[in-house]
């Protein structure tokens, strides 16, 4: 339908009075990709999106969309369109007029703009509801209309602010699939803000994990999942246990980390110095209830909680300075040798399942 724009964010900051919401972030979002900004509330992801949209001024830094530096452009001049969290449909207009709003602002005459709006509604399979008001629609239908309104300007990038948060869980999954399909069909750049890892993993080509106004990691979902860059990413994505300690020794490119309690764990080298504090991440689904085969690849723990999840069982254990060390074992493994709360167990993993986690230079 239209060409997609590469979005280039160059050391952009957002400062509100004395608080800095976004700390000089830099990021390139490739043209035509689906990018998800992921992070807890207050991490600066929405501020970043609003700066890309032009609804928030950029305190310092530059923003390029396609070949144009748009840092000081008003929203409508940027060739982006934004979809708001609550959809922000005009309650006093019917769906056709809602979708045709931006054409009306451009002075397109009534018949032409209504015809085009109907086409957009058709694309969203909402043409049957054209004469209704937004209040008469369900959440999912409102989202489709908001999409139609955003896309009628043929933007190069679509910016979505927590688009699925207002929907019930079942609809969320359906609309998620629709968004992905739409992005593939249109081929334009989508930037989507969310606080749900699941949503980001399902949709994104590029996940940008943010915390405290900084980018912790920007990578493909698989990379973020398998090689989380920092302890924050590992914890936020929720599939790694994080253990912290200091480097004790380095032998044959294996780093030995010693925790505050004096336990030693091994991890592959990442250019460390002895004495430096480091964090390691251990995949929850790779931890086994067996004695460790090698030194530094397991510990003794006490089971504190057991959750049955059908195909798997989630165990929480206390030990090695962690009071919620999580392991996910398959139901067959668990029921072959069941344990109960309060049991002492040996936990173990292999060297491949341990990732060294970096720290952001503040």
């Amino acid at each position: 339908m239209s060409k997609a724009a590469e979005i280039d964010i160059v050391s952009v900051s957002k400062i509100y009075g004395s608080t800095t919401a976004v700390h000089s972030i830099s990021l390139k979002i490739p043209a035509g990709s689906y990018c998800c900004f992921l992070g807890p509330s207050g991490c600066g992801k929405t501020s970043t999106l609003r700066m890309i949209a032009g609804h928030e001024s950029i305190s310092s830094g530059d923003l390029r969309l396609g070949n144009v530096v748009v840092t000081d452009f008003p929203p409508a001049k940027r060739n982006t369109a934004m979809m708001f969290q609550s959809y922000a449909l005009f309650p006093h207009l019917d769906l056709v007029d809602n979708v045709a709003f931006s054409l009306k602002m451009k002075g397109v005459d009534r018949d032409a703009r209504r015809a085009k709006a109907l086409d957009m509604l058709k694309l969203m399979q909402m043409e049957a509801y054209g004469s209704r008001r937004p209040a008469q629609l369900s959440g999912g239908q409102q989202q489709r209309v908001a999409l139609a309104r955003a896309l009628i300007t043929e933007p190069e990038a679509l910016l979505l602010d927590e688009p699925l948060s207002a929907l019930d869980p079942f609809l969320k999954i359906r609309m998620r699939a629709e968004l992905k399909k739409l992005q593939k069909t249109l081929g334009i750049t989508f930037v989507h803000v969310t606080h749900s890892q699941e949503e980001a993993m399902a949709l994104a080509d590029l996940i940008v994990v943010m915390n405290n106004g900084r980018i912790e990691q920007a990578a493909a979902p698989r990379m973020v999942f398998e090689r989380p860059a920092t302890a924050f990413v590992a914890r936020f994505m929720g599939d790694h246990n994080v253990l912290s300690g200091k480097v004790r020794a380095i032998t044959d490119s294996i780093v030995e980390m010693e925790t505050a309690e004096g336990q030693v764990f091994a991890v592959r080298d990442i250019a460390q110095e002895i004495g430096r504090p480091i964090d390691i991440g251990i995949r929850t689904d790779r931890v086994r209830l067996d004695p460790p085969s090698d030194k530094g690849l397991g510990f003794q723990a006490v089971v504190s909680n057991i959750e049955y999840r059908g195909a798997s069982v989630k165990l929480t254990a206390i030990g090695a300075g962690s009071d919620d060390f999580t392991l996910i074992v398959s139901d067959s493994d668990y029921f072959r040798k069941p344990v109960s709360v309060g049991d002492a167990v040996s936990l173990s993993w292999t060297l491949e399942d341990v990732v060294p986690l970096g720290r952001l230079s503040a």
């Binding site: 949209a53 609804h55 008003p74 929203p75 934004m82 922000a88 005009f90 709003f101 931006s102 602002m105």
Partner: protein, 304 residues
């Protein structure tokens, strides 16, 4: 047999639930509505019914005679004085309505969209209401030293050498009436409009800007349509107040202008109660149809 069973069951009931007054569900809700019904009945329905009844009575200089005559209505509607007075009152209403609506909208718009902090919004809003701490009459009369022949405005203009002699139409004129009415009634516009404007989701304005709307286009296409219910409520206040006004017209026009309510007041001072009552019924019908017309144009249910 039957009597025995009922008395038995009655006994059992009093034993299990002693001192408990059991009221059927339907009756309870009626009882709850009774106080309001009584108040409205005594202070609203009854007086209006009295006026309607009296409007058909006969009268002379000495007393009222219960009767069923349409004479009072025929006199009222058949007299060119009535029509002229109604036209005059309508003229005031339209002028005051248009002025309070535009002033009220801009004040409310400024308060709602240009004052950043909520504290400042509340402070400025309270400043708007300060004049209401004094009575209507005092606020009205305080215009006299300002607008009079040797008042503040005239003497200042003469001092500055802008005019050779005092402007006559400042006081005791339709201008003075409209000015005082606008002063007295603008707040009734500001309050409901401010209320609706505050309820507009700010993301709608961002969405409009995202769609390329300019400031003026946002105002015309988003804010004004969404402010309509507040404007309608304010209009109802202003229209009903101005249509029924007699003191402002009397004081500010110096007795040179007439209003329907003033006409009624004069009839009452001449003890022509049935004529005044007939006039009141006509005025009530006119005002109610104006309110109905406003409600037809704008749906205010969302605001209530």
């Amino acid at each position: 047999m039957a009597t025995i069973t009922t008395s038995q069951s009655g006994q059992i009931e009093t034993e299990t639930a002693p001192r408990r007054l059991v009221i059927p569900h339907g009756l309870a809700s009626h009882l709850q509505a009774t106080p309001l019904l009584l108040i409205l009945g005594f202070f609203f329905v009854l007086p209006i019914l009295t006026i309607v009844v009296v409007s058909f009575w006969d009268y002379d200089f000495a007393g009222l005679y219960p009767d069923f005559l349409t004479m009072n209505y025929a006199d009222t509607l058949g007299s060119w004085v009535t029509w002229k007075t109604y036209l005059n009152t309508l003229k005031f209403t339209v002028l005051v309505w248009a002025l309070t609506l535009s002033i009220g909208f801009w004040v409310a718009y400024f308060l709602a969209f240009h004052v950043r902090t909520t504290t400042m919004q509340m402070v400025l809003f309270l400043v708007c209401t300060v004049p209401f701490l004094t009575s209507n009459i005092i606020r009205m009369i305080s215009w006299i030293p300002v607008l009079g022949r040797n008042g503040l405005v005239n003497s200042t203009l003469i001092e500055l050498g802008l005019i050779p002699q005092p402007i006559e139409w400042l006081l005791y004129s339709d201008f003075a009436v409209v000015l005082a009415m606008v002063h007295l009634n603008t707040l009734f516009m500001v309050t409901p409009i401010f209320n609706t404007l505050m309820r507009i989701d700010r993301s709608l304005i961002e969405a409009a800007r995202d769609c390329g709307a300019s400031g003026g286009q946002i105002l015309w296409n988003v804010i004004l349509p969404l402010a309509k219910p507040g404007m309608a409520i304010g209009s109802i206040f202003v229209v009903t107040l101005v249509m029924a006004d007699f003191s402002t017209v009397q004081v500010m026009s110096g007795g040179q202008s007439a209003s329907v309510a003033l006409m009624m007041k004069n009839q009452m001072s001449l003890l022509q109660y049935p004529a005044a009552a007939a006039n009141a019924v006509v005025l009530l019908i006119v005002v109610l149809s104006m309110v109905a017309a406003i409600l037809r144009v704008v749906d205010i249910r969302k605001e209530l």
